[in-house]
C-alpha cells in the first residue's frame, strides 16, 4: 500500500460551477498512472465512501490519459454560497484523498 500523496504530483479540488465539486489527481508519471488505472484503485464507490456521500452523488469518475489523471465530480454538499457554506471555491476539500492507501503489491512493500 502507498498513500496517494506519494504517487501524485497534484491532488486538488475545485468548484465545477456552483453546484458541483470536482477533484483531480494527476500522477507523477505514466507508469504510476497506468498501474493505478489498471487496478481501478480509484473509482466512484470509493470516492463516495471517503467523502461520506451516497454513490449517486458522484456524477463522474474518469481516467484521463493525456494528463495521467483521475477525475471525479460530485454533487456539491450545498450550492456554492448557500447558508452553511465553508469553502466558497471548493479548493480545500482534498484531505480525504491525501492519505488514501492505494494497493501497490507485496513486492513494493519493502521499498515503500
Amino acid at each position: 500500500m502507498k498513500p496517494l500523496m506519494d504517487l501524485a504530483q497534484v491532488i486538488r479540488t475545485k468548484n465545477a460551477g456552483p453546484f458541483e465539486l470536482t477533484l483531480d489527481v494527476i500522477f507523477r508519471d505514466w507508469e504510476t498512472y497506468n498501474r493505478v488505472k489498471k487496478s481501478n484503485a480509484l473509482n466512484a464507490p470509493l470516492i463516495a465512501k471517503i467523502y461520506g456521500v451516497p454513490e449517486e452523488d458522484v456524477l463522474q469518475a474518469i481516467y484521463f490519459d493525456p494528463a495521467c489523471a483521475f477525475k471525479a465530480t460530485m454533487k456539491r454538499q450545498m450550492p456554492c454560497g448557500n447558508l452553511g457554506e465553508r469553502d466558497i471555491y471548493g479548493a480545500q476539500q482534498n484531505a480525504p484523498l491525501l492519505e488514501l492507501q492505494i494497493p501497490w503489491g507485496d513486492d513494493d512493500e519493502s521499498n515503500s
Binding site: N15, G17, F19, D24, Q77, G81, L83, G84
Partner: protein, 452 residues
C-alpha cells in the same frame, strides 16, 4: 492558412501581468488581444449585488496597458464577462473605466458593447414554453425564483462577438461570456477550426495558469494553425508542458473529454498533446460538435438577507474539550431568547482548528490546542441578524460548563468592535440552460465612437 496569434495577458482582468511578459508576448506580433474578466467562483454575492470582485484600480491598471498596446498596434481587444459577473452594472462599471483610460491616454477607437442580461419576461416565457432545463444537480426553476432574482445573465457564445468584429469594433466589451468565446471569436470568424479555436480559448482564458510554474497573473501566447495550435507562456521563467496543458483541460470541468458550451460541445476524445520544444506544446484533434439546439447557460442570484459575524479564539483546554456541548447550549439559549423569531434566522459556528473547512466530511476532526471560532448569523432583517449574533456571542463568552476555570470569559476577541456587519447575502438562484432561436437573440450589439 496563415497562423493566427492570440495574446492572453492575464487570467482575470485586474489580476495583473508583468510588463516584461507583455513586451515579450508582443514580440510574437499577436493578431488579437483577448481577456476574460469573469468567474462565478467567488460566489453568488457579486452577481447578485452587481458589484465587481476585482478592484477598480487593478482593472484600470491592466486596461491602461492593454488599450494603449491594442491601439498602437491597431489590433482588436476583446474583453469578456466584464466586471466579474457580466451583468449590466458590471458592464457599465468596466465601460466607465475604459472611457476614463481613453481620456487620460488620448485614445480614439470604435467600441462595441454587448450586454448579456436576460430579461425576466424572456426567461419566464422560456420557462412556460419548455425552453429551460436544469444544468447539473440543480433545483427546478420556478416563476417565483425568476421573479426574485436580482440579476440574470446568460453566457454568450462567439456569434455576438463576431457581429461586433464584423461591425468594425476595435474594442469589444462584452457582458457574461462563455469563457473561451473572446479567444475563439476572431479565429472562428476567420474560418479556423472551431474545435481547435474553442480548445485554445479554454487554455488561454486562464492565461499562464496552464504553465509551470503556474500563474494567474502572467501572459500566455496561442498560435492557431490549420490543423493544430501551439501554446507558450510569455514569461521566460515558465514553460508549457504536455502535462501542464493537458491537466488544464481538467480544471474546473466535470468531464475532461466533453466540454459543453453555447451551441455545441468540445469533444477531446481524439485530442493529442505534444511537447515540441522546452516551453511550447502543440495540440491537435479537438473537435466541435454542433448541438441540435442553440442553448446558453443562464446564471442568476437572489438576495436572502443580511449577515453579521464575530471572530474569536479559544485557548482554554477545558472549554475546547467541551466545545460541542457548549455550542449546543448557546444555540438552545439563543432559541429560547428569540422564540418569536424561530425559522427567521440562521446561526452557525465555524470551528477552525477542528473541522472549520470540511465540516462533517473532515477525516480528522481533532481539536488543536487552540481553536478559532467564527460565529455567523443571517436573517432577512439586518437588525435581527445583529441581535441574534450579539446574543450568541455574549452567551458563549460567559457560558458556564463543568470544571470551568477561566470564569472571566471563554473567548479571545482580536477586535473591538467584536461584531461585523458583512452586508447583504445572496444565493445562486438560476443555473439552467435556455434554448434560443438564434445565438444573438438576447445579446444586442451596439457601437460607439470613443474620441479623445
Amino acid at each position: 492558412m496563415k497562423p493566427l496569434t492570440l495574446l492572453s495577458p492575464t487570467a482575470i482582468l485586474g489580476y495583473g501581468f508583468p510588463i516584461s511578459s507583455l513586451d515579450r508576448g508582443l514580440s510574437f506580433d499577436p493578431d488579437v488581444i483577448a481577456v476574460d474578466a469573469g468567474s462565478s467562483d467567488p460566489g453568488p454575492y457579486y452577481l447578485g449585488s452587481g458589484k465587481p470582485f476585482v478592484s477598480r484600480g487593478a482593472v484600470k491598471r491592466d486596461l491602461t496597458l492593454l488599450l494603449r498596446t491594442a491601439r498602437s498596434r491597431k489590433k482588436p481587444l476583446l474583453i469578456g464577462s466584464a466586471g466579474g459577473s457580466g451583468s449590466k452594472d458590471h458592464l457599465n462599471w468596466c465601460r466607465e473605466i475604459i472611457m476614463e483610460v481613453a481620456r487620460e491616454e488620448g485614445l480614439s477607437f470604435r467600441m462595441a458593447v454587448i450586454p448579456a442580461d436576460v430579461p425576466k419576461e424572456f426567461l419566464l416565457n422560456g420557462l412556460e414554453n419548455g425552453r429551460v432545463s436544469p444544468l447539473g444537480p440543480v433545483h427546478q426553476l420556478t416563476q417565483s425564483i425568476v421573479k426574485e432574482s436580482t440579476n440574470l445573465v446568460a453566457q454568450m457564445g462567439v456569434e455576438p462577438l463576431i457581429e461586433a468584429l464584423d461591425g468594425g469594433a476595435d474594442v469589444v466589451l462584452a457582458g457574461r461570456c462563455y469563457d473561451p468565446a473572446v479567444f475563439a471569436a476572431l479565429p472562428i470568424r476567420e474560418k479556423y477550426s472551431p474545435g481547435l479555436a474553442y480548445h485554445l480559448g479554454k487554455i488561454l482564458e486562464c492565461a499562464a495558469i496552464a504553465a509551470i510554474p503556474g500563474s494567474g497573473s502572467d501572459c500566455m501566447i496561442g498560435i492557431l494553425e490549420e490543423n493544430r495550435f501551439l501554446v507558450e507562456p510569455a514569461g521566460l521563467e515558465r514553460s508549457a508542458t504536455r502535462t501542464s496543458v493537458a491537466a488544464h483541460t481538467l480544471y474546473e470541468k466535470s468531464n475532461p473529454y466533453l466540454l459543453p458550451g453555447p451551441g455545441g460541445s468540445l469533444d477531446l476524445t481524439g485530442t493529442s498533446f505534444e511537447q515540441i520544444s522546452d516551453r511550447r506544446v502543440a495540440v491537435q484533434g479537438s473537435k466541435f460538435c454542433e448541438a441540435d439546439y442553440y442553448t446558453v447557460k443562464v446564471e442568476g442570484a437572489k438576495k436572502i438577507g443580511y449577515r453579521v459575524i464575530s471572530i474569536a479564539g479559544a485557548r482554554d483546554p477545558r472549554f475546547i474539550s467541551q466545545l460541542d456541548e457548549i455550542i449546543d447550549g448557546v444555540k438552545a439559549r439563543t432559541k429560547d431568547n428569540f422564540q418569536s423569531e424561530q425559522g427567521n434566522y440562521h446561526l452557525q459556528f465555524h470551528v477552525y482548528g477542528r473541522d472549520g473547512v470540511m465540516g462533517p466530511q473532515e477525516p480528522n476532526p481533532v481539536n488543536g490546542h487552540e481553536v478559532g471560532i467564527v460565529l455567523e448569523a443571517v436573517a432577512e432583517r439586518e437588525e435581527l441578524a445583529e441581535s441574534v449574533l450579539g446574543f450568541a456571542r455574549s452567551t458563549m463568552l460567559h457560558f458556564g460548563f463543568p470544571g470551568r476555570l477561566s470564569t472571566a470569559g471563554n473567548l479571545a476577541f482580536p477586535y473591538s468592535p467584536s461584531d461585523f456587519r458583512v452586508g447583504a447575502v445572496y444565493v445562486f438562484s438560476v443555473h439552467h440552460l435556455l434554448k434560443l432561436d438564434r445565438p444573438q437573440e438576447i445579446f444586442p450589439v451596439s457601437f460607439e465612437e470613443v474620441r479623445s
